[in-house]
Symmetry: C2
Subunit: 361 residues, 2 copies
DNA sequence: CTGAAAGCGCTTACAG
DNA sequence: CTGAAAGCGCTTACAG
């Protein structure tokens, strides 16, 4: 081992007892008299005993390590997730091994295999693009959306979408452009579904998918948001702060002030969201809680499992699979400009007036 | 173990040879005849043999895992670093364990301790705020700046700063505001040093530190960049794209068009940099190369080390400790506006004219 | 309540 | 060139 602390036998020798007794005392299984157990614990602590995971792993078949798998570590959400998982895992005595697949499917399979080859006790997988998790051979906790089959725990993206939409609606917005980048993403579809459902009555909603756009016109192409404003859209509800940032800067650049002339909202409360001008209104996941639930369920499944038996079925389940999102209102959203309304319409109560041609898609 | 593949003895039995021979053949130490070795390798591959890391670790004292330590995983640079380290490590047969310390010093010590307790063979540490890495008890590769004592490998931040400055200078900028957030950061000081050194002749440079500002006025407070423009600054050279983004949006919001009225540059080419409008001019680190050098040096040190000997001194060294940065010119930087120049001065060649009151600080 | 023994899967001197 | 044996540090039946 790298570290060269005292071994279990050293404690046994120091106290003149057997290794078995030390082991039993330290694991608290209760086969040792209270006094002896206490003395053993004290000596172990004093000597700075740290069990050898390798020795234990060889004997028990448990490595006390879990894998963290994301389709692409480059995802700006990765820091939040990794931090929360690491906290939850280390509190439970587990180490976290990362696996990167750079968004590529075959690489992802390889990354998962490497984790299995390292004998992780389980893994937390955050799929994207609607990937279905196949049986990987160890307990798995999936963080995707509550509506995904096999999901273990996730933020209530639909509810988050509703909160964003209610917020926009209350401000008086009646023409909302939803911006996403991936029609195949469960998370995005839930968020958009929530937005649309809350805006269903009395508002017009259109969805703009960035990715298909970029496949045609290239990465970083303009979104044409100024035209959308000209068409009467007053709010841009993005499924990620990354898109919100893009929308915000494109609008600002076009001379369209946010939030005076158009509101912009995002999702996830990414690192820059509070410090850009105007700061982004967004909906935040409680990653700490999600991670705690995911890791908790995983650890439970690991504990119940017979390590010699390789067959594992579906992802683990948790009692509480749906964690509410929190709306964070900042400066990027405000009431829509009144000038948009048709002459003759009352502007006294923006919340009940709406531009012509409005309909449900 | 989680996975239940064939063990070494299984291969030995299948071929009617001893476990020792299988082990020797597979490790390629050459104590086995070529034909037998080949047959053993073939059988192992056929049976899908994957060695038990626990068994090996117990025997050799090597876990084939390294730790990745950053002061704060929430750092937007973390995805890039983690991805590159993971690639380099897994190519070398090592797993990567993450450790988070949330920016807190005592938590960082604990995180490193957890890694040691897990018997990592070595660790890659990316310090911040000028933290000095104390002897942690295993080989360590440090990624900080070339000028930091004990640094293993790093981007040439100073050179990156020079490139940014040369770029700005060539465009005609003569009053540059450098924006950083931490006077104690080696990385930031190197970048700023490079900028200042390249701008030394014929340009005025001032540095704005965000963090002291925020300690006084709160997180996300305005940077007062519009006033700086009024004072004649035409370029804002930020030590991170995060600050650049903040500067960009604040300027845009104030009606100061970027890059027409003011240029903004950043560092690191973070994920949003190419997609904001205008896209950010920045200087990029070659993290893949840095990670390869760091992990390579670490693995070498691990190989040369006697695992039973705990005493380890300074961080490992690499042959190539300095990796050039790459300037990425995008739309956020351009020639300064001519209107800033004093009446009577020639504006024909902006590169040789400069506002009054210019001096070296 | 406590201990002696076996064994997890590997690698490494050592013998032949 | 190949094999038998020992042992890395732990935990778990099993016996006392």
């Amino acid at each position: 081992m790298a570290r060269s602390g005292p071994k279990l036998t050293r404690i046994a020798r120091t106290l003149g007892v057997s290794a078995a007794t030390v082991s039993n005392a330290l694991s608290g299984k209760g086969r040792v008299s209270a006094e002896l157990a206490e003395k053993i614990r004290a000596t172990a602590a004093e000597l700075g005993y740290v069990p050898s995971l390798a020795g234990r792993a060889l004997r028990t078949g448990r490595t006390a390590a879990i894998g963290l798998v994301l389709p692409d570590i480059a995802n700006p959400l990765f820091p939040q997730i990794a931090q929360a998982i690491e906290l939850a895992a280390s509190s439970a005595g587990y180490g976290v091994l990362i696996a990167d697949s750079r968004g590529d499917v075959t690489t992802q399979t390889k990354a998962i295999e490497r984790l299995i080859d390292r004998d992780v006790d389980g893994m937390v997988i955050v799929p994207r693009r609607g990937t279905r998790i196949t049986d990987v051979g160890c307990p798995v906790a999936v963080i995707d959306t509550p509506s995904t089959p096999g999901n273990t725990v996730a933020a209530d993206h639909w509810g988050g979408g509703r909160q964003i939409a209610e917020h926009l609606k209350a401000l008086g917005h009646r023409r909302v452009l939803v911006i996403g980048n991936n029609p195949a993403s469960n998370v995005q579809n839930d968020r958009i579904g929530g937005i649309r459902s809350a805006l269903a009555e009395g508002a017009f909603v259109e969805t703009l998918w960035i990715e298909p756009l970029e496949r045609e016109q290239g990465k970083g192409c303009p979104l044409g948001l100024a035209e959308k404003v000209a068409e009467g859209f007053t709010a841009f509800a993005c499924v990620s702060d990354l898109h919100a940032l893009r929308a915000l800067t494109e609008l600002q650049r076009a001379g369209i002030n946010v939030p005076e002339k158009a509101s912009v909202t995002g999702f996830d409360d990414l690192i820059w969201s509070p410090v850009v001008t105007p700061a982004l209104t967004t909906a935040r996941m409680d990653m700490t809680r999600i991670a705690a639930i995911a890791v908790g369920a995983l650890v439970k499944a690991i504990g119940e499992r017979d390590p010699t038996d390789a067959a594992i079925g579906a992802p683990v389940t948790a009692d509480d699979a749906e964690v509410p999102m929190q709306l964070v209102v900042r400066q990027s959203s405000a009431a829509p400009p009144r000038i948009q309304f048709q002459p003759g319409q009352t502007t006294a109560n923006a919340r009940t007036s709406a531009p012509e041609g409005e309909h449900q898609p």
